[in-house]
Symmetry: C2
Subunit: 160 residues, 2 copies
């Protein structure tokens, strides 16, 4: 009898802890977050190995990219040229930190930060940079999420 | 009989013209475009007359703003301080040009350009600037569209 009570208490406690954990996690569990994090990992993996055609294929046909100090880039071949130029100019070791994903039916907005290194021909050591970004993803007819709007800008300049 | 035929012909022609017009308009007529353009006009009107509390009230409670060379700004009072600081530093005559609006249920993404003037204390004449932006709007429970994510960056530097 005593042993049963202990079991019952442990079971009840587990239930309470499990429910608390579920409740605490619930507001962050956007259904688009997992597929979008996976796409982000595929993006950096493709970029870092130099497969820029695979990077460009992750954008929707009607995608727009907004690079700082540049015009709006429209269409997959122009987007591929943008990323090829960026990589050729010495950008490497790209990594994303996803801060938030929020979706509604076929649109999802991701906010995050991107870290990368720049290694130009006349630099002995690569320099590290961080930017913040907003990516809007659009779910395609086959269910895949593709980048639809992609914009980023600089963090505060380092203290002098 | 002849008069009836004419009526029938006119009715049929009207139907064809009406359908053609609807078809031609369809790809651009996102249902969120008109309310969002109206909100954009209210934003610039409030900013230009210096009612920064009204500007901040147009953002959702959970809004994030991504100013270039700055940290991510979270929450309405921090957003109000950002815009107050920007206006106090000499920004004026803000105007938006909406390029595209695309919505899915409760999220809409707007792409556009913003023109404004900067007039600092040590400038005889104001300088003009243009930035490109992406704003993600989130429809609130009362049906109103509010700014949820707001990010912009610079256009190409002018030729020297």
């Amino acid at each position: 009898m005593r042993r049963n009570r202990v079991h019952l208490f442990v079971a009840a406690l587990s239930l309470v802890l499990f429910n608390s954990a579920s409740f605490a996690e619930a507001p962050k569990a956007d259904p688009a977050r997992a597929p979008i994090e996976k796409q982000g990992a595929a993006f950096t993996e493709a970029f870092n190995r130099g497969d820029i055609a695979a990077v460009a294929a992750m954008y929707s046909d009607d995608a727009l990219v907004f690079p700082p100090d540049g015009e709006i880039v429209q269409g997959r071949s122009a987007i591929e040229a943008l990323w090829k130029g960026t990589r050729d100019s010495g950008m490497k070791d790209l990594a994303f930190t996803v801060l938030d994903v929020h979706s509604s039916r076929d649109l999802a907005v991701e906010a995050g930060k991107a870290d990368f290194k720049i290694q130009t021909a006349n630099q002995a050591e690569p320099s590290s940079q961080t930017v913040k970004y907003v990516v809007v993803w659009k779910r395609q007819k086959d269910g895949a999420w593709k980048l639809f709007r992609d914009i980023w800008n600089s963090m505060p300049p380092p203290p002098k």
